[in-house]
Symmetry: C2
Subunit: 111 residues, 2 copies
């Protein structure tokens, strides 16, 4: 996964564990695509300070993911959801009870 895209997802998932300032800076960098210099001006601080915060939070977010794995679970859930929708599409074409029981088992095991 492209790093910027991944960090933006991790920020969505774990942003509430950062300080407001850290979250603001990462938002400007990963979601609004501002440069370090622009963020520094925006936050009235130095480019180096912004760089350090981004670098540190990058590591923090990866650490949270390695411990809680919320992104990985989200991906797996999205896959299950897609699979379930495919099964429902199949059901809509043919006819009933065997398939329905299969869907039930799938939902119980995966969602």
């Amino acid at each position: 996964m492209e790093d910027r895209f991944k960090m933006s997802i991790l920020l969505d998932l774990y942003g509430t564990l950062l300080t407001d300032k850290q979250r603001d800076i990462l938002n400007l960098y990963y979601n609004d695509d501002l440069s370090l210099a622009e963020i520094a001006e925006n936050m009235e601080t130095s480019r180096q300070a912004v760089f350090d915060i981004i670098k540190r939070c990058h590591k923090i977010l990866l650490e949270y993911e390695s411990r809680l794995g919320l992104m990985q679970k989200e991906i797996s859930r999205e896959n299950s959801k897609g699979e379930l929708l495919g099964m429902l599409d199949g059901l809509a074409e043919g006819s009933r009870s065997g398939e329905i029981s299969e869907i039930r088992s799938f939902v119980i095991e995966n969602l």
Copy 2:
């Protein structure tokens, strides 16, 4: 929700964010139902030290839940899952397309 039960769930959800020692102690207390004195003996430390760790981690776990809300999301997902299973049961009795389309929308919005 009964406090001990809630803490046991929070420990499942956020235990990887604690140190090994903190997690071990909370496991003995909330899941294995050992007394403070028993845990102290087990871990070769004082009853007071065990009490302090449990008290501190109790606060930490509640703080994680207030920031990430994983337990709340889990409850909400379980409710959705129950509702979906109910819909599938209904579908199995009657007949098709309107209901199936309803299930699809439900899955897309909720799971």
